[in-house]
Subunit: 265 residues, 2 copies
DNA sequence: GCACAATACCTTATCTCGTAAGGAGTTGCG
DNA sequence: CGCAACTCCTTACGAGATAAGGTATTGTGC
């Protein structure tokens, strides 16, 4: 009845994350065998969140995937929060464990970043997982270890590595966020993104007639966007967002490279 | 009864954001005068969110600040979502409009980034505002205009400017996020951050005995953290986080500078 | 001054959530 | 066989957003 706040929770959560509960097949406890597994529940929850966004993720919805009630899940998972932590970590399992370093660390970093970005785009709800505390699960940890393995090649000192890793995570999350936002904005109203922006723009101009005067640089910047007439393949904003992202990563890596060179005489 | 989804909402929201409703004092409508204003409600909501985090932000809680019911707010604001958008934009009004450029663009960018980071730390709930669609309010726009004014000095082409701006926002948000997380993690359990990490670490080592072997680089990196024995002033993680942030910004700006130089022959 | 209509605010009700409490059926072990 | 552990269910509660509709207030036209 009493919830062991903090300590007890942390231990239980960590045990779940690292799946250190089942002692390898030996089942000697009475009572019905569990019909579900934590893994199955986590997968189902991920499917729900992928399909219906984070708002649609309710314990009832997850339970329904198994023809069960919401309450049945509480046998496997203490609260919804822990379930979300598990989902978060599980999603990171999709990242490849090893990165090809034959092309040099710079190529490695770029591919790591692109893969992480793609992961976030596949599971946009990841961006809404509010890390009130670090998750510390195996797969999240694996992603960290991956980038460290790549950056080891640079020979940079730990302080710089920490900065770079943090910056890379920020860039990836930020980039993914803006794509997801643009996509969902377009998706909600049913209009294409071009239409949506046009509508939004004309509305803005209508409501704020002196916009151009008040924000000349913003206006100029968006006016200077390349406007390819063709509308084939991936949407324009998606390509643009990707370019802005790789551009940002590249600028950062320029900085990293100059430091690495400086260090190596 | 029918909500004009998308279009109607967008217009109403934009009108609220830019406060283009009151025609300057001329009130000729019958009925009781409004006792509240949108501004007052937004300020109250910000106060609630500052004090009680985003979870504590309920329409009831905001209404109570005026001795009113939750429903009374709906006269001023269509839904909670719009209220949050208004809060988001209003908070950005705290950013200074002009930045001193006498120290050069590099100093300007750094101070802009630091101020934005400080804003996020003052209002951590900003990080939880899920931009299902861009807000496009005047103050958010002002912040964008500010950084563009600073970056204009670099003379870089628009594509690069876009990348840099996006990267800066990502870095700031990411950095703020990690500080907020660390702080709330320490705050929730009542333990200090040092204790919290120690506890977490020993728990991890207990539950995952082969952690060091599986994640050698992560282990080494955190072992190499500077461990000042003194515990005075700001917490260690806070200073560290700040250093990692300014470090990241600096690395990025190194990249920007090299491009700016390259461009200027 | 008075009826009317617009308006602000309230009460009530609905629906959705997470999850506490307390069964009821299931199953391995002594 | 009976106990005890275990899974899953029904029911219930309280909190939240917000729809519907009622009531009181107040400026305008007669």
């Amino acid at each position: 009845m009493v919830v062991y706040a903090g300590q007890g929770d942390a231990r239980r959560t960590l045990a779940l994350l690292w799946r250190t509960s089942a002692p390898e097949g030996a089942r000697t406890a009475p009572g019905p065998k569990p019909a579900l597994t934590v893994d199955a529940i986590v997968d189902a929850a991920i499917a729900v969140a992928d399909a219906a966004t984070m708002d649609g993720l309710s314990m009832r919805a997850v339970g329904e995937r198994f023809g069960r009630t919401a309450m049945s899940l509480y046998t496997y998972v203490p609260t919804k929060r822990e379930l979300i932590d598990l989902m978060y970590d599980q999603a990171h399992a999709e990242m490849p464990a090893d990165h090809d370093l034959s092309g040099g660390w710079r190529v490695g970093v770029e591919s790591w970043a692109n893969e992480l970005r793609a992961l976030y785009l596949r599971h946009p709800w990841l961006l809404q997982v509010s890390h009130a505390r670090p998750v510390l699960g195996p797969h999240e940890q694996g992603v960290l270890e991956s980038i460290l393995r790549i950056l080891k090649e640079t020979g940079l000192e730990p302080t710089v590595v920490r900065s770079v890793v943090g910056s890379l995570f920020s860039l990836v999350r930020g980039a993914a966020r803006s794509v997801v936002e643009a996509g969902s904005a377009a998706g909600t109203t049913g209009t294409s993104d071009a239409e949506w922006w046009a509508l939004r723009g004309s509305l803005l101009r209508q409501i704020v007639p002196d916009f151009d005067r008040r924000f000349p640089l913003s206006t100029r910047l968006s006016a200077e966007e390349p406007q390819p007439s063709s509308a084939e393949g991936t949407p324009r904003w998606e390509r643009e967002a990707r370019e802005a992202f790789t551009g940002g990563v590249n600028i950062l890596l320029d900085g990293v490279e100059s430091r690495a060179r400086r260090r190596a005489h």
